[in-house]
Amino acid sequence: MVLLAEEDKTLHVYAAVGIGVVCLVIGVPLWWKTTDVYRVSLPYSDIDQLAQYKIQYGVDVTVISFDEQMVDADLAALSKHLMDSLDRNPTPGDISSRYRTNVKEKTTQESSLLSSSTSVSDLDAKLNEVYKQDHNHYYVILLPQTSQLKVKAPVIGLNRNIFFTKEEKDIKQLADQIGQTLKEVVVRERSVLKAYEAAKGSRDQKPDKERMRTVRSHPGYDITFTLVNSQPDIIDAQWDIQHAVHAYLEPLTKRLKKYAAINVQSQVLYFTQMMTKPKTDKEKNEHYYTTKELPLIINPIEANLGSPASNNPELNFLVYVPTRDEHPLHIRDDTGMNLASNAFLSPRWGGIYICNIPSPPQNASLPVRPSIDMKKVMEIFLFQLRLLFNLLYQGSTSVDLIPVGNTVVAEWELDGWLRSHCVENLATATATLQSLAQLLGQISNIVINDDIGQEVQSAVQSIKESYQLLKEGFLEKAFLASREAIISSEKAFFDPSLLELLYFPEDQKFAIYIPLFLPISFPVFSSLFKAFKWFRETKGLTKAKQE
């Protein structure tokens, strides 16, 4: 009878252990698996690694000396000093430049080019033709003092040529001057660093005009020109915007077409007025806004501008025709002087130009329909656009720039634009991927689709590719790759499927399961506990028996 009871007990203990094992080994994983959400594995380690990368961009420089007085030894010294100068004062931070220099003497073909050129810009165009100058490769031309083309200060052509004349300075001074001009003006290292920092969103940034003004990099931009006729019953100003856009803006949009889609539109607004009343100067019989009041002007007008149907950043350029009461309207700077341009720029938004049109005489039949001088308007707006796109160099280094004129953008400026945008894209894409990875890591019940996985993969791939290309100096390809990266990463980040299951928090999930889990797990665990106790006892008993 005792034996039977013991056997019975053993059986029950094994049954309890069996049930426990089934529950734990099959039940729990099965439950886990069936309630799990679909998540594609993302290259988390790659993304982490991307953040550690240091961006390095390569720049090619060729120095061609037309100066007969420079002998081979001089050229060697120049090469050495130039290298020193370019590698000196590296920009701090995660981003660095790498220059490859080559100093050589002119060839006979080149000297014939020089002698046949009538001006520096002529030589600039000819050199461009001969060398088929590509992105990111700059030519420093040392003009002889004897030449009629000799320059006082360094001159930067429309293409990628920088002209110097060696005066009585020694070689080292010349090398320093070349190095400084390259770093400050042509390559604009500081600008590149600013673009990178802005995109990275580092906290400890000092407010900086250039960084705050420049429009963020985007695959496309919408530019809208708006004519604001505040009193069309008196002055209904007309503009030939179609022609103006064609003549002044198209060279730029065509040149940038490959890198950014720029969509230009225009509209006319009527009966839209500035909400803040301008101050009146009774002596001069004119009205004015001070620079402090300008920020208050934009908002009421912006409400009527309408929103575009695309996701591109929008740049607005407004021509404001003042009402009869406000006429003439000026903008005054801090010293109380009227601004010559009568226009102002709003960072990352666009510009406003106040166009004073004389009031019609008393007996005129209203409304009068004067037309606006589009050349002046477009000159102002193109200047503002170059500032917003950060194409314009504004620095302390003294150089002469050949005016861009109708082409709107010089080749070396375009290179600079590509360089800072490439760096900015890389930083933004990396930051986007990082925050996506962080988000997905933190919230474990977000579904990650195959599409998102693919986009993330391709973004990572493009970023790596772009890093490599940038380092090797293939600027254009690097930019295009970085644009791919930013498009893919944004697509992954803003994928609507990420939001689908977000509103089912973890704690509620357990509230649902507890009514099942609690009553089942309690007996299972207690019987398991008992079973182990029994095992231990029997073990002790057998040991005692053996002893």
Binding site: A15, F271, A309, I512, I520
Partner: protein, 608 residues
Amino acid sequence: MDASIGPWHRTRCLLYFKIIFLFFKVYALPDDTFSEELLVKPFESGQVLFHFQFTTLWNASTAEPGSFTHYRLFPKALGDVLVKYQVQELHLSLTQGLWRYEKWGYPPEDAPPGVELWVWFLPTVSNIDKTWSDLVNALSGLFCASLNFMDSKSTVLPRWSFRPMGLASEYYSFDSRFMRYSALPKEIVCTENLTPWKKLLPCLSRVGLATLLNAMKLYDSYYSSLGIHVRPVCRTQTCTDQSIELKQTLSVVFDPTISSSGYQNWQLRSLFGDPLTSQCPLASISKVYLDKAHLQSSDATVTLYPEPDEVVNFTRGREKLTYAVWDIGRQISRHQQLNLAIHYNRKIHYGEINPPPVYAQRFITGFGLEKGGITSIIYNNLDTNLTAIYMETIPWFLRLYFSSITITNHGIVVKPYKIHYVPGKDRARNYQLELVFRLRPHSVTKISMQFERAFLKWTEYPPDANHGFYVNSAIISTVLPDAYNYTASPQTSSLLGDSTRDNSTEFFLRLHTETLLVSLPTPDFSMPYNVICLACTVVAIVFGSIHNLTTRRFIAVDPDKQVGIIQKIKNKFKRNKPEEIVAELTASESVDQKNESDIKTKKKEEMG
């Protein structure tokens, strides 16, 4: 699911579609023109309709995206959307209140309560469903309305009811693949929709007729409807080029008899808050028309202030009409303002009102929450036969029985010429029904159908589910031979004023019936958790008992030695008395090891 019908039937029911493709009048246009018009129509029932229409014509075409670059009078915000989503024609209406056809006749722009949107896309659009969903999202942002709910579940492709209103090739206009229709009967329309609508006007609401559009007054009315209608029209008579026409309409119905103590007197200042003091300088036409149809029929003396600039007598169809016309520019230069007013010398007499030739009623039938039905009654008061198209879109959760659709006319079953029926799919598609049939003269035609109410999943119920679910208006399209009570502008022209020069003999009519409110079986929403708890408890009990059966021993207890509950509790306290034997059927968790070992020792003792 077309019913096969004889060839003459087919010719007949397609006949009137032809009027939709009429030729357009000649306009010698500058690049773009704008006009503002107001039509006032006092009703016999005492209410007054004010219908504002702002028309912009522009020499541009959505088929050539380049032409939508430099905007002047046409709103850029809307133009961008039209071009981006390649829209050929767009008709949007946002309405608060129900139009009462029996009392008020036909509105200038017909609209159902809530929001209605129908769009014809250009044939170049590759994925129309995707474009449609992007378009409704863009429009929903533009007009601050929940148009984004117009998803695939509530969108249909009507085959016959909606044809292009503007210029279109015959081949294109018979292909309903390019069009989408959707309506949101539940949408509430208010100031937030009016403000963006006003922003599309070139003169905004600063000057001109739009200064009257004061939201406080407009939404304190019987009926108020906003509309945006975009269509391509011919630029010249030869029609070699297209222009785009944007009609912004606003209809509002006031009841002045309430504030004027029984008199039907009103003036602009009392209804809109302000008189008209300016004219939009950009408008080429700024006019106010007053339809005197119901002024002459009453026996009261009616005085109009100020004197109209012009009184136009004209015949439309066989109907003799009189419009009083005020030119806003002329009135303002003369009087500085236009405070249009009507004065009656006696109180209004409420009498029987002559209903319009064709009108309809629709209601829910049946009781209980399992089954139900929809019945529509269409009245034809004309002495001629009419061919009508009846369109019904029913949400998927009202499962329509196709076999139950019957059309009867005074008890006689009417066989429809054509049927287009798309069965619904649960959670994917609405039921869509289009019927083409004949309305006999002086008769009442009844259409009835039965449905079964579906159970929804608990996440599918909207907030306040007990309020009920809305069903779209049914749409009846037909062509009238006469213009009795007809106020819409002719289809071939852009302006309201062209009604006075309309010499057409057929008048296209589209009616929207009432929307319906259906209640569905609605659960108590705390139930799912209760069910989970209950089901889990049952599972836990079953599991618990099986678990106990397999892991515990059961011992028979001597019934003689069985003790009462009180004794048991006492025993617990006297545990150290070994002579008392306590045996327990261990089914509960609370049995401890000590008790068990107690039993064991006892048993051993006994056996020993």
